[in-house]
């Protein structure tokens, strides 16, 4: 009988630390592993330090730590080269990585070297019960339709997966697994040197990790109103989002854009004010826990994905919310 390969999950290492998106990828790995009865291996490249047991509590069966003298995980060539060596050595059936600038750079290099298929930016993964192939689902044609893609002939089946497309599993302190040191070696040379990293001052990193996101669309009506919306976001401790049309109107910078061509967010509460809910916008926020929509048109598509739908004027909602928040904080009420 053919021995089935494991599921390999590539850890996201940023500045020498395992980033939290890795736990989401492990959660995907677990979900697939339940259906195929194989192990979930979390591959860590470029750092030998960290609480690797935590990755096991997050759902990994084994943590494969590959940390020879790699200069910096941010250099694509050596990182991809190590990934290729690890795939050749471990022979996984499936390899998934976050669809971040890291995953979206080194996965294609590795897939090309291995001559196998890669599907970008998946929002759903599953195993086809009929042929046991990985079903890689992603938005296609500008997000208007979803396509499920398979890699039938070549191995491994590789996919990058959109961050926040799944919740990390709650840490299971009882889980047992193995941390294995691997010394896969770097093949060849690389002509890259890391110079510097400058952390951005801007708050847009906040948008993706914010627990509340307040987004304005064309229904906000004016730049001045949008400014009030931004102030309200500050008052609420919310990340400020915008639709593409609001960005194009010059009301908000591109870094605020939520959607297919902007950021993907999945806050606890997403508030969309004056947003129509076109599919390209939904692509960036549909996995939010709770969605509030404010729109004057009761037939607006955004209401289809909303938990709370408020039919009314968006600028007026901004005003009323601002008033409500101000009186709340003046009263000094706590949570």
């Amino acid at each position: 009988m053919e021995i089935k390969g494991n599921i390999m999950v590539l850890a996201e290492v940023r500045s020498g630390n395992v980033h939290s998106v890795t736990y989401e990828m492990i959660a995907w790995g677990r979900r697939l592993a339940e259906k195929t009865d194989v192990l979930v291996d979390c591959l860590v490249l470029g750092t030998g330090e960290g609480d690797f047991e935590e990755l096991i509590r997050g759902g990994a069966d084994r943590v494969l730590v590959v940390s020879p003298g790699m200069p910096d995980s941010r250099l694509a060539t050596p990182a991809a080269s190590l990934l290729v060596s690890a795939i050749r050595g471990e022979r996984p059936d499936i390899v998934i990585a976050p669809a971040t600038t890291y995953g979206r750079t080194i996965m294609p290099i590795a897939a090309a070297r291995l001559g196998t298929g890669l599907t970008a930016d998946c929002t759903d993964l599953d195993i086809d019960p009929k042929d046991s192939l990985l079903m890689q689902t992603r938005p296609a044609i500008g997000g208007n339709i979803m396509a499920t893609i398979k890699t039938p002939r070549t191995r491994p089946q590789m996919a990058t997966v959109r961050p926040r497309s799944i919740k990390p599993l709650p840490a299971d302190t009882g889980r047992r697994g193995e941390v294995v040191r691997k010394d896969y070696s770097l093949e060849g040379e690389w002509q890259e040197r890391f110079i510097s990293f400058i952390r951005s001052e801007e708050g847009d990193a906040n948008l993706e990790s914010a627990e509340i996101v307040l987004t304005g669309g064309k229904g906000i009506k004016s730049r001045d109103n949008f400014k009030q919306l931004a102030e309200l976001a500050g008052l609420m401790g919310a990340g400020l989002g915008a639709t593409r049309d609001a960005v194009e109107a010059g009301w908000a910078p591109f870094s605020c854009q939520v959607g297919l061509t902007g950021k993907t967010v999945a806050p606890k509460v997403y508030i969309a004010a004056g947003v129509s809910g076109k599919i390209q916008h939904l692509a960036g926020m549909i996995t939010s826990d709770y969605i509030v929509a404010i729109n004057e048109d009761p037939k607006a598509q955004i209401f289809k994905v909303a938990d709370l739908g408020i039919i009314g004027d968006a600028p007026m909602a901004v005003q009323e919310l601002t008033r409500a928040f101000k009186s709340h904080s003046e009263k000094g009420e706590g949570a």
Binding site: A112, L118, A120, Q191, G234, Y290, I291, G312, A317, A335
Partner: protein, 273 residues
Amino acid sequence: MDIVVLIKQVPSTANTRMDPETGVMIRDASETVLNPLDEHAITEAARIKGRFPGSTVTAITMGPPAARRVLLEACARGADRGILLSHKAFGGSDTLATSRVLAATIRKTGGFDLILAGEKATDGETGQTGPMTAAFLNLPVVTFVNRLDVEGDSIVARRIVEEGEEEVLVRLPALVTVVRDINNPPLPTVRQYVIAKKIIFPVWGPQDIGMEEADAGLKGSATRVAKIFSPRLSRNTTYMEAGNEAKMAAAATAILEVLKGRDLMKKGEGHGN
């Protein structure tokens, strides 16, 4: 400096509508444009050419015969020549097969220092063709670049990543994919189009680039589209009519309750930003 720019013809998004019943995009196939990020790649190539007199810029595209239009536009924007990869054997290529074709073409033309491409195309949105092509050519790749400087036999590239910006130094030859912040492409002038129209674009197939037909197109692709469907949307929505201020105030209170219920109401501290 000899520069290659990889470009693609994509459907124009301005001309797309959604079918209200099925939610599927309807578009007029004749409406195509140069992929927006590729405009930035060509503009960057033209800028570098301006700095290093004697440089050449070659635009390469794979696509149907009509894709020569984007080569024409590339030449109007500063490319000196263009190559059209068009053959039935190329049809249905996934990113792996496309990259193989592009790499074979670059190998065939040879003698380049820098390859530029848009970070991704607006139709497929994969961002995989650049890094895969680099891998087939055994070249280093720098992705998501918003600033590029040539220094001697190397480039200094600034990449925009999740939490900030990083700079890397890469020895040439190398492949770089660019994002839209890198420059502001000017509109080509009529004169530039007139000059570009005189350029003849060779049309190449697998034989011309020394490739087996089976390595390209659908046959050479590792991925298959198994199914296409409309995303399903639905939640159980609670509606509130808020046609006047009093009703909107009630709605605002309801939102506050949602936040309180999730422990998201901050104490009376100031949230500056």
